[in-house]
């Protein structure tokens, strides 16, 4: 059951990219393109969501995602309230749904939800009144749809199309909600070859069933790639000893200029942030000519504006 779309194809919530039709993804990317100039104008605002109240519900820390959601909402003229739940009433024992009900009673129109538990945004989406939309800003290992979308937007901006690309996702796929969202989006948008490159201990079982090719070494995996997406080594999600050491990991899976040379000469390097320099990516690559890591952040604002505008406007794909 797809809770994200209404029966007539309108975007109702954005919870995961899994199962979203290609037309909806393209619609979001095109709408984001239309918002690109707003950030470069004298007045960096359009009046689209004037009078709407958007609540950033972050049950887990985040800088980039929360900030870009906040900027995106403000550029749409919405009123934004940021709640850092770790330091509020949840710590006094209130349940998530009680928190949500209380905020809904303050006339919320949209919740942006980040939570360490997979499925938290779905739970809230299933609970709220019909006029309220929910955007998943990352839930556990499950999904981070706006990150996946901004990555697709970045790829389309630099490569123009999806149908002729080889894309490699490198690193801690096991713990990465970003990787899952990227894989769903890449396959839906028709990328013919999506690769994952990681040691066996950092890959979920059955990852091949998501439509990806699995590689365990960079030398073969990076060959002829158009796009390389590096994932953060998620120390805080590591349970037990999956890796000998960060140094060892860098030696085999860290992206250096030498390894980057195996990909196509015009390959772009992406990273969702925050980066561990010298662990999954070398500074020479992160700050190098092929890195599009900072443009990703800028595009994230336009993409989040598009998602919020489409949700609030209720438009069929």
């Amino acid at each position: 059951m797809n809770r994200q779309l209404t029966s007539d194809g309108y975007l109702r919530h954005l919870l995961t990219l899994d199962g979203l039709p290609r037309a909806t993804l393209i619609k979001i990317l095109d709408t984001a393109e239309s918002f690109m100039d707003v950030g470069e104008r004298e007045v960096k605002k359009v009046p689209l969501l004037r009078g709407k109240s958007i609540f950033n519900l972050f049950f887990e820390p985040s800088t980039r995602t929360r900030t870009t959601f906040e900027i995106a909402a403000k550029r749409l003229s919405a009123d934004v309230v940021n709640l850092n739940i770790a330091t509020s009433s949840q710590s006094k024992g209130e349940t998530i749904l009680d928190t949500v009900d209380n905020l809904a009673a303050m006339h919320a129109d949209m919740f942006i939800v980040r939570h360490a538990q997979s499925g938290a945004a779905h739970l809230i989406a299933g609970h709220v009144a019909p006029h309220i939309s929910v955007v998943n800003a990352g839930d556990g290992r499950h999904a981070h749809p706006t990150q996946g979308l901004l990555d697709m937007f970045t790829i389309r901006r630099y490569k123009g199309a999806f149908h002729n690309l080889t894309v490699a996702i490198v690193g801690d796929v096991l713990h990465s909600r970003v990787a899952r969202s990227q894989i769903h989006a890449l396959t839906t948008l028709g990328v013919p070859e999506v690769r994952v490159i990681a040691p066996k201990t950092l890959l979920p079982t059955g990852v091949e069933q998501m439509g990806v090719k699995v590689f365990h070494d960079m030398q073969t995996g990076l060959r002829d790639c158009d796009v390389i997406i590096m994932l953060r080594l998620q120390n805080e999600r590591m349970k037990g000893a999956r890796l000998p050491s960060a140094q060892e990991y860098f030696k085999f899976y860290g992206l250096t200029l030498d390894k980057l040379a195996l990909a196509k000469p015009d390959a772009i390097v992406m990273h969702p942030g925050p980066m561990n320099r010298g662990v999954e990516i070398d500074s020479e690559v992160a700050d190098g000519a092929q890195s599009v890591i900072l443009p990703q952040v800028t595009y994230g604002i336009a993409v989040r504006m598009a998602v919020m505008a489409l949700l609030a406007g209720g438009v069929a794909a």
């Binding site: 709408t31 239309s34 100039d37 707003v38 359009v46 009046p47 689209l48 069929a316």
Partner: protein, 164 residues
């Protein structure tokens, strides 16, 4: 009814003649997507305007967003000149309620403070709902509210007015 509709090329030529006397070195033409852009392109050529042509998509400024949502084909706005202090002539195909122009002015001011804004339209069809009127009008037609007057462009670039 179709034979009552005027020839678009003739109207554009008349509009150009009306605008010409007031042109200054820093006048900029700005078309509103889509029909207004087509007309503005023609005027830009006819009038030898040196400032690059601007295009406005008022999608993000509409007052009916909460009722009808985002327009499915959002074309980006592009104003390739400094709006601050400039003489701007906004060009649209059909002037009806005036809401499009209200949105266009709102958007223009978000790019800077123009010295003046004038409005040139091909057809003023009546039915105004706001205290906004065109400065240059190709023709006045009295079209009843239920009918839709639209401009379309053929593959060869020809512009045709139709009523449905």
């Amino acid at each position: 009814m179709a034979d009552l509709l005027p020839d678009v090329d003739t109207l554009i030529a008349q509009l150009a003649d009306a605008i010409r006397p007031g042109l200054t070195a820093d006048t900029a033409l700005v078309g509103i997507h889509s029909g207004g852009v087509w007309i503005a392109e023609r005027l830009h050529q006819l009038l030898d305007v040196t400032t690059p042509l601007g295009m406005l998509s008022i999608t993000h400024y509409r007052d009916d967003f909460s009722r009808i949502g985002l327009h499915p084909q959002v074309k980006p706005s592009r104003l390739p000149f400094e709006v601050e202090g400039r003489n701007v002539i906004v060009v649209d195909d059909v002037f009806y309620t005036g809401r499009t122009m209200r949105a266009a002015m709102h958007e223009l001011f978000d790019y800077g403070r123009p010295a003046l804004i004038r409005l040139a339209v091909l057809v003023d069809r009546g039915g105004h709902e706001l205290p906004i009127r065109p400065d240059f009008t190709g023709i006045h037609l009295d079209i009843p509210p239920g009918q839709n007057l639209t401009l379309s462009r053929g593959d060869d670039g020809s512009l045709i007015m139709s009523l449905a």
